[in-house]
């Protein structure tokens, strides 16, 4: 096991920059998730660590071994890196049985046949697939294939484990179970792990830290709770969890941590705590989670929050609760409610604390 250092990683495909100046340190035994939409550069970063793509600039080091250093012209081919990579497609070799698949990396390392047998049994037991050793990949379900792919990677004790959307090919139910199993396994193994996904729930539930990527850059690095509660920018806020955005104008200047008075496009006013200072007259966007908003009962007091008049645009039953679409001063909001609204108008209660204030107008959230 070892720690991973990525410095100034840059990769271009033709004229398109896929990853630019990515810097990241993953501690020994840490589980870090690269999270972002497709095309954000997370898979490119992973491929550069594994050595499948040769990056154009930067430096990658695992433990004391330099995998890649553009400045010194160092590039280790993938076979010399001892990374473990689990592919999204699992990439099990269809012409080999489960046992042969798992044996392949051991044969390459010239492990004796007795030791090989012992380790194949051990690792298949670890992923609970020992009964399937003689099967061919096409005789296994998706979830079983995924376990074999993981076993094939763990069996040679890689210096670092790379997982490329390993759960995305499973159906929803299976994915929940596989995620729980993976979470348990990671605490048992304690391997340095990079996990790539576009699924925020996987990222939040599995990771020590999350790296949110956007357009080839790192948007934010932090613990799951920190990312969720204190997103660095509207993109992160939007990508992690459902977020409502409300464009507004600052009426009174607020210092960092102070309370700002905001005015919406239709003249309604509300208060919000500003994490960063906001200048009077500047345009801002207030972001908050659906679970932070509530329907205000008629004649409710404004204590601890603001009450705003909205128009109901849609209502749909989503099982157990209702999803209500609202129009507030031209901004579309989504609210979760126990009861469907009976009228076209609805009063909304927004807390002063908990929302996040970003600089910039409506376009920042687009």
């Amino acid at each position: 096991m070892a720690d991973l250092t990525i410095q100034g990683l840059t990769k271009r495909f033709g004229g398109v920059t896929a990853v630019e100046d990515v810097n990241l340190h993953v501690a020994d035994g840490e589980f870090v998730t690269l999270l972002g939409p497709s095309g954000c550069g997370k898979s490119t970063t992973l491929a550069a660590v594994a050595g499948l793509d040769r990056a154009d600039g930067g430096r990658i080091q695992v433990g004391d071994r330099v995998y890649f250093d553009a400045a010194r012209g160092i590039y280790l081919p993938p076979e010399a890196r001892s990374c473990g990579l689990v592919f999204q497609s699992y990439a099990l070799w269809p012409h080999m049985t489960v046992a042969d698949n798992v044996a392949f990396p051991l044969t390459l390392r010239k492990v004796s046949s007795a030791e090989r047998k012992r380790r194949i049994e051990e690792v298949l037991a670890l992923v609970e697939m020992e009964r399937y050793a003689g099967r061919y990949p096409h005789e296994l379900s998706g979830g079983q294939q995924q376990r074999v792919a993981l076993a094939r990677t763990l069996v040679y004790r890689p210096a670092i484990l790379l997982l490329d959307e390993p759960l995305s090919n499973l159906d929803a139910k299976l994915r929940d179970r596989a995620r729980a199993w993976l979470a348990e396994l990671r605490t048992r193994l304690g391997l340095t792990t990079i996990y790539v996904t576009h699924d925020q729930i996987e990222a939040l539930s599995l990771s020590d830290r999350i790296v949110v990527m956007n357009g080839g850059h790192i948007a934010q690095i932090g613990a799951p709770q920190e990312i969720y509660e204190h997103p660095a920018d509207p993109f992160v806020a939007d990508f992690i969890g459902t977020t409502n955005f409300l464009p507004a104008r600052v009426l009174g200047e607020a210092s960092a941590g102070g309370r700002a008075l905001l005015e919406l496009a239709d003249g309604q006013r509300l208060e919000a705590v500003a994490e960063r200072p906001a200048a009077a007259g500047s345009r801002v966007t207030l972001a908050f989670r659906p679970e932070q908003m509530h329907v205000a009962p008629p004649g409710a007091r404004m204590e601890g929050g603001s009450v705003l008049a909205t128009r109901v645009t849609s209502r749909s039953y989503v099982g157990g609760q209702w999803q209500v679409g609202l129009d507030l001063a031209g901004a579309a909001l989504r609210l979760e409610a126990r009861q469907p609204p009976t009228e076209d108008r609805l009063d909304l209660w927004l807390p002063h604390v908990g929302g996040i204030l970003f600089r910039g107008g409506a376009d920042v959230a687009a």
């Binding site: 081919p77 001892s82 990579l85 990439a91 051990e122 004790r157």
Partner: protein
């Protein structure tokens, strides 16, 4: 948990020079020598005033002027162009009609008919020519039948038209395959839309189906024109006796048959032919790019609803049956029959002439039995060697980081643009020129080398599509786990390519087994193959032996095609 406790194991450190380097560069060098080896001497000889092997010579362009002044050379070019053009017209008309009739209508027994229709594709034009001679030649079975009933037969094979019909019929399957595969990937709703809006069967065919096939028709037309230019057997058998010379027979007569060959002239004509065919192949490539733009619109391969022929169903079936009978079954059947008879004529009862003497004679003469044996060795061993080389080239081109893989790909596909006659002359020069290769010159290995060069593109065509379907993740996974490129290729890619390699070997076996145009420039006493023996026997007028030898070739190819399609389910075309 010991997995968690133990530290990482490094894979074996990579050597200073990875194994991939010598393998990739070695293969590329081999292909380079194989492809340019025969071409350079031809091109060089075309600009020399003396023979290549002379002590001294000068660079000159005089050969081109001399060729232009050669008496009758203008007519040779004209004949060549006319034959290729007429062949193309016949092949395209027949092939397109067959594609629509067998592939797109409810014609009875369309599958069976199309199987027969494709047969000329598997056989050599040489054998087909003999078959046509046996049926429609001056003393042919059909000719004699006609004469006894109706007087002089109105046809002759010894004319440009006659040759174009034989060549066109044997090349029609190519047009058929391209039209059919284009029809199978066009969106069937295009036709359905026309029918729903009230267009009848024939109007839909004429206005929608046929125009959609246009790119495929155009592409296969250029392909057939190119093959028409390269034809050797048909002009040799039917053109020469009638005094009709084309470029290939010009090269053959002046280069091989002539006691004092004029090397400058031969090489110049060969270079000229090479240039024309190169242009045509380049044109094919461009058109293929264009047709892809046309036909990938539909995407999903769906079988469109067949057109209803209605009352024409049976009349058209009889017509198609007659065509198959006249152009495929009769030539092959009569040729086989001729092999088992001492003399074949409609006037003499068959029972009186049946004999196996022809086969006995073939195996009695060491020359002919050796030719059969050599053909098997060349096709089996040579096919296996070539398959290995082609598999390696395909992996390097499609699955490696080899720096010159693009150039290697281009080089490996280049022999498409080298006519068999030119390759034959080129290898002849190359082996005459290079010292130390004399021992190869009189052995069958020179044929293996020349055939391999000729059919690399066909082999790549059989292997590459399958290789491209194998997910890149499968070899990446092996690389990440510590296997270098060569181990990955051997342990992962080659086993996965096995069906494609079987298909490639079969195609090469059949191609090598029936090849003659390159071989006639290269064989020596002792290294005859069936193709060269056929031509020799033909010149001697041994029609019975020709038929017997041809029958052996047809039988072997038939068994081979049936076995591969039956056992492995490998598609040999399309």
């Amino acid at each position: 948990m010991s997995l968690a406790m133990s530290g990482p194991e490094a894979p074996p450190a990579p050597p200073a020079i990875p194994r991939a380097v010598p393998i990739q560069y070695g293969t590329a060098l081999l292909v380079l020598v194989l492809v340019t080896g025969p071409l350079l001497p031809v091109l060089l000889q075309s600009v020399l005033d003396g023979a290549l092997y002379d002590a001294e010579y000068n660079l000159t362009l005089a050969n081109f002027a001399r060729l232009a002044r050669t008496e009758g050379f203008g007519l040779v070019l004209l004949n060549t162009a006319a034959l290729a053009a007429m062949t193309t017209v016949v092949a395209q008309v027949v092939g397109t009609l067959a594609a629509i009739l067998f592939g797109r209508t409810d014609l009875p027994m369309a599958r069976l008919l199309s199987e027969f229709f494709l047969w000329p594709l598997y056989l050599s034009a040489l054998v087909l020519s003999f078959g046509w001679y046996a049926v429609y030649g001056p003393a042919g079975y059909a000719t004699l039948l006609w004469q006894s009933a109706l007087g002089d037969a109105p046809w002759t094979l010894y004319s440009l038209t006659g040759m174009a019909v034989i060549a066109g019929v044997s090349q029609a399957p190519l047009a058929y395959i391209y039209c059919l595969s284009s029809a199978s990937i066009t969106d069937p709703s295009l036709e359905e839309a026309a029918r729903v809006s009230g267009s009848g069967t024939f109007r839909t065919l004429w206005r929608i189906t046929l125009p959609l096939m246009k790119p495929a028709i155009a592409y296969s037309a250029v392909l057939n024109f190119t093959i028409g230019l390269e034809l050797l057997s048909i002009p040799l058998i039917f053109g020469d006796p009638a005094g009709i010379t084309v470029l290939t027979t010009f090269l053959f007569n002046n280069g091989i048959s002539s006691p004092r060959p004029d090397h400058g002239l031969v090489a110049t004509a060969a270079a000229l032919m090479l240039a024309v065919v190169c242009f045509l192949v380049w044109l094919q490539g461009r058109m293929l790019g264009n047709t892809r733009r046309f036909i990938t619109l539909g995407g999903k391969a769906t079988r469109p609803r067949p057109f209803r022929l209605g009352g024409l169903r049976w009349p058209l079936f009889i017509l198609a049956g007659l065509y198959i009978l006249a152009t495929v079954i009769a030539p092959i059947g009569v040729l086989v029959l001729r092999a088992f008879t001492a003399f074949l004529s409609p006037m003499i009862p068959l029972a009186e002439v049946l004999t196996t003497a022809n086969f006995v004679q073939i195996f009695d003469y060491p020359v002919y039995s050796r030719a059969v044996w050599n053909s098997f060795v060349v096709s089996l061993v040579g096919g296996a060697i070539a398959t290995a080389l082609i598999g390696l080239v395909a992996i390097i081109v499609h699955r490696s980081e080899f720096r010159f893989r693009g150039a290697l790909h281009y080089l490996a596909l280049f022999p498409r643009a080298v006519p068999g006659v030119v390759a034959g002359i080129g290898f002849f020069y190359a082996f005459a020129l290079l010292p130390g290769l004399g021992f190869l010159r009189n052995s069958i290995w020179i044929l293996v080398i020349a055939f391999t060069m000729r059919f690399i593109p066909a082999g790549i065509g059989a292997v590459a599509p399958m290789l491209l379907q194998v997910s890149h993740d499968l070899d990446r996974a092996a690389r990440v786990q510590g296997a270098d490129w060569w181990t990955t290729s051997r342990r992962i890619l080659l086993p996965l390519m096995r069906p494609a390699l079987v298909g490639c070997f079969t195609i090469l076996f059949i191609s090598f087994f029936k090849e003659y145009s390159t071989a006639i420039f290269l064989f020596a006493p002792g290294s005859e193959v069936i193709g060269t023996a056929l031509l020799q026997l033909w010149v001697q007028g041994e029609v019975g032996l020709v038929a017997a030898l041809a029958t052996i070739q047809v039988a072997v190819i038939a068994v081979c095609v049936a076995a591969v399609r039956g056992i492995f389910g490998v598609k040999l075309h399309g």
